[in-house]
């Protein structure tokens, strides 16, 4: 990575040395949350709700958004109190915060997205047990500023939602031959047109909708992610080799 180093040196010369630019500070958080340290792909956390709810796109989106909201709320609260809480009681305090946030969000979903609440059912309260949330509180929010913790929660939640969505799309298309069925329970009654019939008169493929389909789908996603990462690595290697050979010939 010799090129990027050179660039960052010239940039820090423009600004003051001890305060790195906004993008330098926040871009890694985004990259971590969505890709390199993705809650599912890298940390393998929160698989229980992921596997259970990802049988359709709307369910996946609903749980993804709820989890993201909880992550943001809990990260921000933990960051706010990070200097008050003593180390020996920090975990119980985090748990109390997460549980309150989840209960509040459950009530809000119950009130304004009633049908979604009926579909997601037990998986909203179960967000409390999603290890990804307490992991972020402990590993990130308890050591970082409010802004960064907010952004980390947003990005971690976004990464989690993306995986949920990918799995939801795969399972719904293969299992039912549709996309965004029941769109109205999330977006309101006038939104049935969002439903796309990918394969008309499709008989359905039960395996994809049942729990084994979730495991198989997730396995393919993980394999695909690892393959993609390796391709990237190989390309980078090749590039650096090319550079060195060019330099030596020049």
């Amino acid at each position: 990575m010799p090129e990027t180093e050179a660039i960052s040196i010239t940039e820090t010369n423009d600004t003051t040395e001890d305060t790195p630019s906004f993008i330098d500070e926040y871009a890694p958080i985004a990259k971590e949350g969505v890709w390199t340290n993705n809650a599912v792909f890298a940390q393998m956390l929160g698989l229980c709700p992921l596997l259970a709810v990802s049988n359709s796109v709307v369910n996946a989106l609903g749980l993804g958004i709820a989890t993201t909201l909880v992550l943001i709320l809990s990260n921000m609260s933990v960051s706010l109190i990070r200097n008050i809480v003593r180390p020996e009681i920090r975990l119980p305090v985090f748990v109390v915060i997460i549980a309150s946030a989840v209960t509040a969000i459950e009530l809000i979903i119950h009130a304004w997205f009633h049908e979604l609440y009926l579909v997601l059912g037990i998986f909203i309260p179960l967000i409390v047990t999603n290890c990804a949330i307490i992991a972020r509180a402990e590993a990130f929010a308890s050591k970082n500023t409010l802004g960064k913790s907010f952004f980390d929660g947003l990005m971690m939640g976004f990464g989690f939602t993306l995986v949920l969505l990918a799995l939801g799309i795969i399972r719904e298309v293969i299992g039912m031959g549709t996309l965004l069925s029941n769109a109205h329970i999330m977006f309101g009654d006038g939104m049935q047109w969002l439903t796309i019939e990918v394969f008309p008169n499709y008989d359905g493929f039960l395996l994809a909708l049942l729990p084994p389909g979730a495991f198989i789908g997730l396995a393919f996603l993980l394999a695909g992610r690892n393959y993609f990462d390796r391709c990237l690595k190989d390309m980078a290697k090749k590039k650096s080799q090319d550079l060195t050979t060019e330099k030596s010939t020049a």
Binding site: I84, R86, I97, A104, W112, G175
Partner: protein, 221 residues
């Protein structure tokens, strides 16, 4: 030394209690703010479900206000008292709707909402909750299949009682490929609901006060 440890412990306990209180306050505030909306959503949802099986233009009263609570019976398969929703057009009874639970589904209880016209014909049936196998038994759900509409306008005379079964058992109702137990349970539950209506017809359109006076106060739960 001991005093220091004690003070430390008390500080931690106080902090923990403080956060517990804060969390509770947050939940309480949200609960208060959403309480009315939750109630309204549940009512709207119930009314929507009821209107699917009793057309809203066939009655003039407020369905959710004219209700009768009756004690549990084995016929309806429930352990708690059942709420009967009555549809009226002025003083003319139109239909009643109530929930029935079938215990003999393939996996777990199947909860149905059944509406019966005053004439004894089925006005409509919907499945409220079930845990049947996706792709096989879940065709009882209106969002998956129109099967449940085959009950419309049926009564204990049409078909005759003997024919209130799935085709495999000699009745007139379709079963699904690969799933007989689920439709059999639903047909049985609807049949029991009709039977219940037939034997309690005179009671079901009473108002609560009159019902309690005649048959003793029902168990409110």
């Amino acid at each position: 030394m001991k005093a220091a440890i004690f003070r430390n412990m008390m500080m931690s306990a106080a902090l923990l209690a403080g956060f517990g209180g804060l969390g509770t306050a947050l939940v309480m505030a949200t609960f208060e703010a959403t309480k009315d909306q939750i109630e309204a959503s549940e009512k709207a949802n119930l009314l929507k479900n009821l209107n699917n099986i009793i057309p809203s233009d066939s009655y003039t009263n407020n369905l959710l206000d004219n209700k009768l609570i009756v004690p549990p019976t084995t016929q309806l398969g429930n352990k708690n008292s059942t709420t009967i929703y009555q549809a009226w057009q002025g003083k003319k009874p139109i239909a009643v709707a109530f929930s029935v639970i079938a215990h003999d589904g393939y996996s777990g209880d199947i909860k149905l909402l059944v509406a019966i016209k005053a004439s004894g014909h089925i006005s409509g049936v919907r499945i409220i909750s079930h845990k049947e196998t996706p792709g096989l038994g879940d065709k009882i759900d209106i969002s998956k299949d129109n099967w449940v509409l085959s009950f419309n306008d049926k009564s204990l005379e049409n078909p005759i009682r003997k024919k209130w079964k799935v085709k495999k058992d000699g009745g007139i109702f379709d079963q699904f490929t690969g799933a007989t137990i689920t439709p059999r349970a639903v047909v049985g539950a609807v049949y029991k609901a009709l039977d219940y209506y037939k034997y309690n017809e005179s009671k079901l359109f009473l108002d609560q006060a009159k019902y309690d006076q005649l048959y003793g106060p029902s168990v409110h739960q």
